[in-house]
């Protein structure tokens, strides 16, 4: 039987459907698990925390969800080596839970995806994420080519990586910087960073390589109909680049 993937749904999560659809399209055996069914989470082999505004981002984005009972199971699963993948609000929750970069105790965050800069506004912008680690450094990216460019949509008001200089050094030194923003041709420069994120960070991985948190939404650029750079002749229903990361995730489960 194939590995079971849970997509936890907190009150306020809003991207669970497209996340679930893409996981299934990539061959994943995925199901939604709502907050009232938290205890079911123990039965799953992997977890994808999708975007939204869990608990309305009360106090801080991801702060309340990080202490939800569902996260007790996710934290335990991550400690046992299961794969955990967070997107946007899911990524914010993983940082608040201390799972990534994972340089401090659990639920004592050492970094945050916080208010965009320099202008503190919500952005909705098509972006590219460039893989900044060896693909095998993170189980979820292992099937991607080196330096892979993954198209995605950045849709957030709080996606800027912020941490103290010491913790930023730990992120770099520990190889936690998984994805950085880049232009469509792979050039890394400040113009490609939509939100002022430190280190140009789009995604972080933990030390063990089984927890990945990314801010942009690859699941919103998973088929050509929502890929901005498609050609006239492209099949609009064919997969686009955003699906690559999800395929790599599902492949990692199949080979585990």
């Amino acid at each position: 039987m194939s590995a079971r993937i849970a997509v936890p749904v907190f009150p306020g999560t809003n991207s669970e459907d497209e996340t679930l659809r893409l996981l299934r399209d990539c061959g994943g055996n995925a199901e939604l698990v709502h907050w009232s069914q938290a205890s079911k989470l123990a039965r799953y082999d992997a977890y994808v925390l999708s975007g939204g505004f869990a608990y309305e981002d009360r106090i801080r984005a991801g702060a309340i969800a990080a202490h939800d009972r569902m996260m007790d199971y996710v934290i335990e699963a991550a400690a046992s080596g299961k794969l955990v993948f967070g997107i946007c609000n899911g990524a914010q929750i993983l940082l608040e839970a201390g799972l990534v970069p994972g340089t401090g105790p659990i639920r004592r965050p050492t970094a945050a995806f916080t208010r965009n800069g320099p202008a503190p506004h919500f952005i909705c912008r098509h972006v590219y994420m460039k893989l900044a680690i060896e693909p095998v450094r993170c189980a979820i990216t292992a099937a991607l080519p080196e330096g892979a460019l993954v198209p995605a949509w950045a849709a957030h008001a709080e996606g800027r990586l912020a941490a103290t200089p010491e913790h930023l050094s730990e992120i770099v030194g520990g190889g936690h910087l998984a994805f950085i923003y880049a232009s469509a041709n792979g050039i890394v420069d400040a113009a490609a960073v939509p939100n002022g994120s430190a280190l140009g960070c789009a995604g972080l991985v933990n030390r063990e390589g089984n927890v990945l948190a990314i801010m942009p939404h690859p699941e919103r650029d998973a088929w050509n109909f929502n890929h901005l750079d498609r050609r006239e002749s492209d099949d609009v229903l064919a997969p686009s680049g955003g699906s690559l990361l999800f395929r790599s995730f599902v492949q990692a489960l199949a080979s585990a």
Partner: protein, 138 residues
Amino acid sequence: MTRAVAIALKIPDNTAFTAAVALRRLGVGVERVERSEIYFFDDGGDVPALIERITADETIFNPNTHRLTVLDEAAPRPGEVWIEPLDPVTLSVSKGDGEKAATSWRLLGRNDASLDQEALRAAAERLLCNPAIERAVY
């Protein structure tokens, strides 16, 4: 002269309620939480003029939902912890600049008694403050 202004909801504050529930789950003996946003204004010497400016502008204040208090001191009162962003936001409020300086959390126990410093620290460390982007001031 710098003035601190506290703006709180006068309608039920769901965030404060959620914080109280979460803090109780984390072992902090809190019965009720009061929350307000703290703004600093450098040109706040004339208090009536400052209040008039803020209320007329309605950028940070809506008379239907908010209560505005000009604080005697720009510092937390007993039972309060202020969570200050390390990187504050300057905003324009009707021909002047203000700075969103902090979120004030007042933690109350039984009979609305203020919680002590130890409880405030626990609340800040476990939930209210992310030290990567904020600092707690007691």
